[in-house]
Amino acid sequence: MTTSEDYVDAGEAIDQGNLSGKMPGGEIAPPVTAAVTYERILNARNEPHNWLTYYGAYDGQRYSPLDQINTENVKRLVPAWVFQAGTTGLIAGASTYSFEAAPIVVDGIMFLTGWDGWIWALDAKTGVEIWRYKHAVPFDVSLCCGNVNRGCAVAQGKVFFVTANARLIALDATNGKMVWAKTYGDVRAGESATVAPLIVKNMVIVGSSGGEFGVRGHLDAFDLESGEHQWRCYMVPKPGEPGSETWPADGEAWARGGANCWVTSTFDPETNLLYVGTGNPAPDFDGEVREGDNLYTDSIVAVDADSGQIRWHHQCTPHDLWDYDSIAENILFEKDGRKLLGHFDKNGYFYVVDRTDGELVSVTPFVDRITWGAVTRDGRVTAKLYPEKEGEPVHFYPGPAGAKEWTHASYSPKTEFFYVPVQDTGATATRRRREFKESIPYWGAGVQVDAEDMAGSISAFDGNGEEKWRWRNELPMCASTLATGGDLVFAGEATGEFNALDARSGELLWQFQCGSGHHSNPTTYTVEGRQYIAVPVGWGGWAEGFLPGMLGAGHGSALFVFALPEPA
């Protein structure tokens, strides 16, 4: 018989991060975000040494004027440092985790999110970890499309990010300690969160994930100091609300309608509008249970930033039967003095819209194969191929991952070109009706995405929708592009290559094999006058939906940071 006196005292369990080789005192970051205000983010273009907000600036251009690395010297680009995130033990969605973040950099400090509730503060010059925070994510959390997170936001001394169990968390940016946390989704309903928050004025803006589980998508705003909820904007109207006439009058299809906002909005301070892309309707492929256009699914929605009220919308795919979310970024630009936005939709068309009132300016296809239907230049939609009869397979292009997935196009105000990562892949959907049950995937079809006969490209378009050049690839391009003042476009491949293209011609100028596929958002910054290009690398996520032929590829979990060699 063992008595209590016989036991060795093992003490108190400690934070695992204390066993990471860090020197005592090295876990405190300088207070670089303390002075990051709305005004600074508004003028982010004036401090190109930083990458202050998800897209680099509110306009969503994913453009940096930095030009130290340029078309002449990019061939000398080499790794400056690598951060290996790694994993220990089991994680939720272990098979589908992917490194999708956009690194945020403020005055030499990088803030980076991973999968499964991870966020790190790193020295942006050396890659040394300063602090880490790990939120406990339930192993059984509903993940429609992978264990992923797209990044964080910073302001007024804090760093904000969401977790897969639908929490918005504010940390002290100097030490990674929690300041406040709010639950803004219901995991028992199948809601989750993957979006990079956006700071607008005194608010943190976030959207929900879970459209494949038949939820009701929403956008939320929280006070960045207190965490107090400011407003919620549902993207599927209740009966009696504007747009509800586009849903069946009887039943509860609206309550399960989808339209999640799982990608970060852009913002125009002059119109005071957030430009939000909304997700697919639910069920994805069975339209008979949701007759009508199904607003505001698959739409570009303009939301008043102060009130959370919808001001205007443009629906890209009414009564979607192909899983064509319109969650893609809405890039703000001006042409001939007109305030416009550009949007590359999953349905294969490039939309240009007047961002003051939503008037459609032009619609142009940006991928070679489009068979699901046709959209005329004035926006009229005609469906052609869709899963209509129970059990009858229907093949269409593009597949449900879209001609461009969530990953972002960029826009260079120097060249006035958009640079879009294109996926040219089809799929077969066979309608299989199922009853709705809360927290159970709600698709309405069996879907098999093509694993052969596919292509991809980085394609450059002007604001008129005219293609200017195309850099072709055998596989679809599944990572965001980055445009720079050095007339470069950076684009990662699914097979691990990280490429620099000439922004004016599309010529491949430099390439580096990163050892795992790209499905993230590269950013750029400078520290002490040296320009760096940072790219998270880690293949995964919803690979069965956009590139099933690479389901067996290694995952990886490294952040690569490149720079020109330092002078000897």
Partner: protein, 153 residues
């Protein structure tokens, strides 16, 4: 077909309830289930043991009535050294558990759902020392969707 009452007998018959019979180690999910106790202030408490030669957590499924803070007592009655890596908001909690040792861990989990815990040394995880902490409850009312009650499985 196997019914629940037969499960224990069948595990024993097939040699799946101990080490190095049917399997090399201890198959996951063959352990016991326990409930955390709750104080008047809502703080929870439980004891988790590693019994001699069983190579599983006892309980291997620990159920918390709701999200919040829980104080664990961790006891290693095995004749081998193990450790524990436990989920908690902020960072995972780690403790070495040499043979015949006892330690403590305080966790914060904001549930609902289940979270894994394990002994990440050698291949303790693969050989049986992987367990789950289940947090009951719902999302707070303000976080739920504005819609009628929906059918559930």
């Amino acid at each position: 077909m196997t019914t629940a009452p037969e499960r224990t007998d069948l595990l024993k018959e097939l040699g799946l309830d101990v080490q190095n019979h049917a399997t090399l180690g201890r198959v996951l999910g063959t352990g016991k289930i326990g409930r955390a106790s709750e104080g008047s202030d809502g703080r929870m408490q439980a004891t988790i043991r590693i019994n001699e030669d069983e190579l599983m957590w006892d309980p291997s499924i620990l159920v918390m009535p709701h999200g919040g803070d829980i104080d664990l007592e961790l006891v290693n009655d095995d004749k081998n050294t193990h450790c524990a890596l436990l989920p908690s908001n902020g960072d995972r909690k780690f403790i070495w558990l040499v043979n015949h040792s006892r330690g403590r861990a305080t966790l914060n989990l904001d549930g609902p759902g289940y979270y894994w815990y394990s002994s990440p040394t050698g291949n303790d995880e693969g050989r049986g020392l992987t367990g789950a902490i289940v947090v009951l409850g719902d999302a707070p009312p303000e976080a739920r969707l504005d819609r009628p009650d929906q059918p559930q499985p």
